[in-house]
Every structure is written in structure tokens, then in C-alpha cells.
Amino acid sequence: MAEVTDLLVADAVRLGCTAADRFDAVRQAGEALVRIGAVEPAYADAMQEREQSLSSFVGEGFAIPHGTDAARALVRRGALAFLQFPEGVDWDGQDVRACVAIAASADEHVSVMSTLAQVLLDPDQAEELRTTTDPERVLELLAPAPEQDDETQQPQETL
């Protein structure tokens, strides 16, 4: 699981969070990325900007807040943070229970996102990721599947 430990570390997994609204949740997600040294503080502002232009809700009670294309320059190293909101956050009319916050300078996070897509398509796994009280389980559920190199793509732009 070397891959996931690089991108998503236990320090960036925060369970039992509460947020007043989605912008508060995005602020906390940004703080989590700043705290682990993945991004410059201004990246958190870009996350707010991105959220204002378009909701980062993706379905199954999940949102994936991240910065803007221009804010890639504020990423020190690609990383993810995971925040769970057991009481739910009103996300522009949707009920969000967990956020996967993204800091990416290129496509270093594609394999984890692929795993997340699989989890979201599996109602049982999605439920477990929304509700587990074990941070270790979060890391396991989001660990990129081994040997699926048919998923590695040729990204057309990686800068």
C-alpha cells in the first residue's frame, strides 16, 4: 500500500467532523491539506473559489473539494485528505457525509480516484467509507487496487 500511504496518510484522515455548511467543510478540508504540508495556505482559498463556481458533490454522500487549475502551483506535493461528517452537511441541497479533498499538481492521484470511483459504485463499500469509525479502514478502502494497469491512462496534459 505504498502508493496510498504516499498520497493519503493517517494524519489526513479525520473522522467525526461537523461543519456548519459546505464552505465550512471545504475550509476544514483545506486546513487538513495545509496541516500535512501538502499545499500552501492559499490553496485552501482556491478550494473555496472552485466550490463557489460548481459544487464538488459527486454522489453517494461524497464531495471531492479541490483547487483550481491555476492553484496547482500552490501544491507542494500531491496528497489527499479524508473528512467524515457523520451528521451530514447540506451540500447545495445534497446530503454529504464524507469529503475526499484533493491536492494535485499533475495526475499523481489518478489511481486513488479510480479506487474511489469503484467504491462509489458499490453501495456497501460507499456506506462503509461514509460511516466507518476506524481510520485504518479508510486507508484500506481507498488503497489503489494492485495490478490494474489497464486503468493507467495517458493523460493528455500533466503540467
Binding site: S53, I64, G67, D69, V110, L120, E151
Partner: protein, 103 residues
């Protein structure tokens, strides 16, 4: 408005605001379905699109006008939901069973 036959589609790009989040999530799912049909699926920030980027552009409803402006000759298909939107089935069906996509 441009259109394309399913059999002529060789590349699909999923565009979003930053090219970092939702487009990546969708790209990984679509690539699995379309790769066996010889279609390359990539992702891109909407601002970096151009006519050479791909035959078909998939993007969120809110970004359609920007996508059409950036890639006026590509077929632009909007979606609203990141999971299970009928737009994805439409594109996949045109590629696997044939048919025309307009956009």
C-alpha cells in the same frame, strides 16, 4: 452544431473546471468501458480544451458554453450528475452500437 458517428469516435475527453477532481473520477470509470472499443478517454481543464483535444467532450452542464467556445468543432455532451447520468450511457451506446451524437 457538430455531430459525429459512434464508429468515428476515437477519443473522448472529460472536462471540468480544474481537471483535477470530478473529471478524473469520471475518466477512470469511462476508460474501462470504452478502452475495449479503441477509444482513448482523457481529462482536461475546460480552459485547456481545443478542437484537437478529442472527438467528443463530456462536461458538466455549467461548463458547456465554455467548452463549446474552446472546442467549437468537437461534439460537446453535457451531464448533470457525476454518477449514472444518462449522458454517459448515450455516449457509450453510440460507440458500442453505433449512432449519431450531436452537440
Amino acid at each position: 452544431m457538430p455531430s459525429i458517428e459512434g464508429k468515428d469516435i476515437k477519443s473522448v475527453v472529460v472536462a471540468c473546471e480544474a481537471g483535477m477532481g470530478s473529471s478524473v473520477l469520471l475518466t477512470t470509470q469511462l476508460a474501462k468501458q470504452l478502452k475495449p472499443h479503441g477509444v482513448a478517454v482523457t481529462h482536461s481543464p475546460v480552459n485547456r480544451l481545443n478542437d484537437d483535444t478529442a472527438d467528443v467532450v463530456l462536461c458538466h452542464q455549467g461548463l458547456v458554453s465554455r467548452a463549446r467556445q474552446a472546442a467549437p468543432n468537437s461534439v460537446v455532451i453535457p451531464f448533470q450528475m457525476f454518477m449514472g447520468d444518462p449522458a454517459f450511457a448515450k455516449v457509450t451506446a453510440a460507440i458500442t452500437n453505433g449512432g449519431t451524437l450531436d452537440g
